[in-house]
Symmetry: C2
Subunit: 265 residues, 2 copies
C-alpha cells in the first residue's frame, strides 16, 4: 500500500512540516521504498518533483523539506509497488491537462480488472492500474464536460459525476484518491483518509513519524485556513477526522465546499 | 530572447557539465532572469524541474548540477520574458501526453498572430505564444496521426508534417524549437541552433560561460555517442555545427536520423 498526503489552503503555504513526517514513511518508519512524488500548484502554475528512489535519503526530497515552496494545493504520494515496476513512469502523482488546467492525481490502493476500462483522450505512460484509472476517469469527465463548468449547477454536476466514477473504481478494489485542478482538491475515501483543518487560534503540533514539533502560531496570520489530508494522521496531539468509505470531499481554500456520498446520504 | 539546450545520447548520460555553463546565462553571463526549466527522459519516464526565478542562485538549479540525473534525452530552457508574465505557468519546458508518450517542448523566439492558431486536443495553461504554438502543433500532429506511427514510412510522414508545421510557425516570427517524445529529439532552426556530437576518441572541452573544463574520456566508454544542441555553442574549444534556417533535425541515440528542410533541398 502507498501513502497519500494532500493540502488545501487559503493562502500560499509551505508543507515542509507535514512533508517531513510523511517522507519518513518512505523507507524510514514505513515500508514504502518504491518512489515518491509531490506536486505544487502555484499562481495557476503546476510543478511536481518525482523520484523512483526511497524518499529517505533522496536529495530531491531533502530539497523539498529545506526549500519552502508556497502553494494553495499540494498532492504527495509515497509508493509501495504492487502493479508495475519501480520506475519513473510509474511514480505518482500523475498529471494531464484538461480545459487548460493541469489535473494532478495520486492513488492509494489496488484495482482488479482495470485493463478493461476504456480510454479516450488520455493514455497511460507507465503500466500501473493507478495511471490507467486516472486516464479513464479524466476521459470520462471530459467526454461529459468538453468545456470547463462555469456555473454552480454545472460544477455540482461535475462533482456528482466524479463521485459516481470514484464509486465505480471502488467497486474494482481499493481506491483512495487525491485529485486536483488548481482551484479544487478532491479527496475520495475507499478505506482510509483522514483530515484536519487548522485555523486561528493556531497551536502546536508534533509529528508521529519524526521528532519535530511546530508552533503554527509563529508561521501564520489569524485569517489562514490550512487543511491537511492523509491516509493516516500525521500528528499525535491533534484530533483528525476520518472520512467514511464512499465519501467524496471537495476542498477549496482549506474549506470543504461539498460532501458527496455515504455520510451525506 | 531565451536560450535552449538539448541532448540526445545512446547511453544514459548526465548533462551536469553543459548545464553548468548553460545556467550561468540565466542571470549570470546572460540577461535571462525570468525562469528556467529542464526535462529528463529516463527509462520511458519523464520529469522536469522548473523555476520562475533566475537559474543563478536557484537551489533547484544547484541540485541539478550536483545530482547527476542520467538520461537519453534532455531539454532545457532559460527564459527572458517577452509574451506572458514571469510565473510558473509560463516557464518552459511544456509537456503534454500524446499516444501514451510525454511530449516535451521548449521554444526560443517570438510569434505574431499566434492567438489565431486553432486549438483542438490541447489547451495552454499559461498565456505565452510559445505554449499556444505547442498546443496547436501537437493538436495538428494528433489530428493527422491519431495513433503512434509504427512503420518507417509513417514516421517519415510524421516528420515531414512536423517540418511543415514548424515552417508555418517560422512564418509568424522566430521559432527555434526543441521537441521530444522520449525516443526522438526534434530540433528546428529558425535563426540559431548549433550542435556538436561527441564520440570516441573523447577529448577535453571547456565552457564559454564558466571556468570549467571536463575530460570526457574519463566519463565515457568508447561506444558512447552524445550530442548537444544549443542556441549558442557552449564550449570555446570545439567545432560546433550551426543549423540552417528552416532545417529540422531528427535525433535518436545521439545520431541524426533525418534532415528535412533547407540544407537537404
Amino acid at each position: 500500500m502507498c501513502e497519500l498526503l494532500g493540502m488545501s489552503a487559503n493562502v500560499p503555504t509551505d508543507i515542509c512540516f507535514s512533508f517531513t513526517g510523511f517522507l519518513h514513511r518512505g523507507g524510514g518508519t514505513g515500508p514504502h521504498r518504491d518512489g515518491w512524488g509531490i506536486a505544487f500548484y502555484e499562481e495557476g502554475g503546476y510543478r511536481d518533483f518525482r523520484d523512483p528512489h526511497p524518499s529517505v535519503g533522496s536529495p530531491i526530497a531533502r530539497l523539498i523539506t529545506d526549500y519552502p515552496i508556497k502553494s494553495n494545493i499540494v498532492i504527495s504520494h509515497i509508493r509501495q509497488a504492487n502493479v508495475g515496476q519501480v520506475r519513473l513512469a510509474n511514480t505518482h502523482p500523475f498529471v494531464r491537462e484538461m480545459w487548460g488546467r493541469p489535473w494532478c492525481y495520486a492513488h492509494n490502493g489496488q484495482l482488479d480488472g482495470w485493463r478493461g476500462m476504456p480510454l479516450s483522450y488520455y493514455r497511460p505512460i507507465g503500466d500501473t492500474d493507478s495511471e490507467h484509472a486516472f486516464c479513464w476517469l479524466l476521459g470520462e469527465l471530459r467526454s461529459r464536460f468538453p468545456e470547463r463548468p462555469t456555473s454552480d449547477a454545472e460544477r455540482q454536476g461535475l462533482w456528482r459525476l466524479l463521485h459516481q466514477l470514484c464509486e465505480r473504481l471502488r467497486g474494482l478494489g481499493v481506491f483512495n484518491l487525491l485529485l486536483a485542478d488548481g482551484d479544487y482538491l478532491y479527496t475520495f475515501c475507499s478505506t482510509k483518509l483522514a483530515h484536519i483543518t487548522r485555523r486561528a487560534p493556531f497551536g502546536r503540533a508534533s509529528l508521529s513519524d519524526a521528532e519535530l514539533t511546530v508552533n503554527f502560531a509563529e508561521h501564520t496570520t489569524t485569517r489562514d485556513i490550512v487543511s491537511v489530508i492523509a491516509t493516516e494522521p500525521l500528528t499525535d496531539n491533534e484530533a483528525w477526522e476520518r472520512m467514511a468509505p464512499g465519501e467524496l470531499l471537495v476542498w477549496r481554500d482549506g474549506v470543504i465546499q461539498a460532501r458527496i456520498g455515504q455520510r451525506a446520504a
